[in-house]
């Protein structure tokens, strides 16, 4: 579904991603872990070109999206993204947050979008919040809404950048549950997270990024029970 070839990203002289090649298959749930500052967010943000790769190519459904001639907006419509700090639009109520993009990009009519928004909100248990403003919601609620907002575009792929890191511990579960549900429905997902339980339970493949490269990748069982890379062993001993 996504093919990453020789992806390199540097900020000035600082090489953050060094020649990464990866392939993400439909239906996969790829979990990305690694120490802080190792480039996990940068990797994720390159996938929908929020960061411009310095070199290398990213092919999504057969289209090389790093080609400047490609309509990047059309590509992004098919990839949902969920941010650490939710990034809901504080100037709009929840319903408008969700329907803005589907309506403005011409994906659907307003009433259809509203209908879908309500259906999705029901699924995450927040239908009563449709008229609320983001400032009135808890962190966990905001993040569930942010997931709904991305889903309303009917994406083929969802990118999550530490979706639970900014949450109080008691709210982590409600967000992870929504993500698990999504995973069970077969959504292709790339998730940067520090939630090792989630990685083990939901991930179909785990990547360990450090020093600008994927140091190790494996199925969750192997990854956690027989880590080979010494840096990964060190990392796991700290977080587990």
């Amino acid at each position: 579904m996504i093919d990453v070839k020789n992806l390199t990203k540097s900020f000035g002289s600082h090489v953050v991603l060094n020649n990464i090649s990866q392939h993400i298959y439909p239906g996969e749930k790829v979990v990305v872990i690694g120490p802080s500052g190792s480039g996990k967010s940068t990797f994720l943000r390159c996938l929908n070109l929020l960061e411009e790769p310095t070199s290398g190519t990213i092919t999504f459904d057969g289209v090389d999206i790093t080609d400047p001639k490609v309509d990047i907006n059309a590509v992004r419509r098919q990839m949902g993204m969920v941010f650490q700090h939710f990034n809901l639009f504080p100037n709009m109520n929840i319903c408008d947050n969700i329907t803005l993009a589907p309506v403005q990009t011409g994906l659907m009519k307003k009433d259809e979008a509203v209908e879908i928004a309500h259906a999705l909100l029901k699924r995450v248990g927040l239908d009563d919040k449709a008229d609320a403003y983001p400032a009135q919601l808890s962190g966990g609620q905001k993040q569930r809404i942010a997931i709904v907002r991305a889903l309303a575009m009917k994406p083929k792929l969802m990118l999550f950048d530490e979706p639970t890191s900014a949450l109080d511990p008691e709210m982590v579960g409600e967000v992870l549950n929504v993500m698990k549900q999504l995973a069970d429905e077969g959504m292709t997902m790339v998730v940067v997270t520090h939630e090792m339980g989630f990685a083990r339970e939901v991930g179909s493949r785990i990547l360990f990024i450090d020093g600008g490269q994927v140091q190790e990748e494996n199925s969750p069982e192997e990854f956690f029970s027989h880590p080979k890379n010494p840096r990964l062993q060190d990392f796991l001993s700290k977080v587990l």
Partner: protein, 255 residues
């Protein structure tokens, strides 16, 4: 007894025999009622409001334009460099630097006595000078508002597949507008008060009227106090309206 009769009576009395209040009354009468002079203030007031509105329109149009150019220039995808945008950005920077680096009064004199030295329409020239000045400040206010917004807002909009213009229109600009409204209001008040400066190039606003009346009566206290009160009332009315608007826009913040 009405004011005219009172004035007639009192003006017969020799100046040295007048009580304090009688003297004050005479001065006020000459500054306000005599020869329907109050009309002159209100003519000046109308001009002041006209000049403010013309200058405001020029200022906002210029300000938005310059802010858009500079923000779009700064937010280009890294590595891309649009020549036209770079050129416009250069002009914008020079404009803002010159306007912010020179006194309002000197700018007005250059407009009135150099650039439009042959024009008779001093009021319009004054409005132009004020508008061009205000544009530079408005541009910096808007740019500051756009820059201060969490970049995550732009990213969220773009990640949903909205294009740059749509994201600006529905997400960034409404929030930036709310954030800069107090500074815009202040800038408007400064502009309103700065209209008094166009009297130096013979723009016929309130101060111009007040000075003319003072020159006729040899008494400047009341003309200028009246001028001050008129400005104060306008600013108070505006501040009240601004407060109302800000409270309305703050609705989405309630918890």
């Amino acid at each position: 007894m009405n004011v005219d009769q009172l004035y007639e009576t009192l003006s017969q009395i020799p100046k040295t025999d007048l009580a304090m209040w009688q003297d004050v009354f005479l001065k006020f009468y000459r500054a306000w009622f005599a020869e329907d002079r109050w009309l002159n203030y209100f003519e000046g007031l109308v001009t002041t409001i006209e000049v403010t509105i013309i200058a405001l329109i020029i200022g906002v149009v210029l300000g938005v334009l310059v802010a858009m150019i500079r923000t779009a220039h700064d937010q280009q995808r890294p590595g891309t460099h649009n020549f036209v945008l770079g050129f416009l950005n250069g002009i914008s920077q020079v404009y803002v630097t010159i306007i912010r680096g020179t006194p309002m009064m000197v700018q007005l004199m250059i407009w009135g006595f150099v650039i439009f030295a042959t024009s008779r329409n001093f009021t319009l020239v004054g409005a132009l000078g004020l508008g061009v000045n205000s544009g530079a400040y408005v541009a910096e206010i808007i740019r500051g508002g756009l820059m201060s917004l969490d970049p995550g807002q732009m990213e969220a909009g773009r990640s949903l597949g909205l294009n740059y213009i749509q994201t600006m229109r529905f997400i960034v600009i409404p929030q930036a507008f709310k954030a800069i409204l107090p500074s815009l209001g202040n800038e408007f008040i400064v502009l309103l008060k700065d209209t008094s400066l166009i009297s130096v190039i013979a723009g016929k606003e309130i101060v111009y009227a007040a000075r003319a009346i003072g020159a006729r009566t040899y008494e400047y206290m009341f003309p200028f106090v009246i001028t001050a009160i008129m400005y104060l009332i306008m600013v108070l009315i505006f501040s009240w309206l601004q407060g109302k608007l800000e409270r309305r826009l703050r609705r989405s913040d309630r918890r």
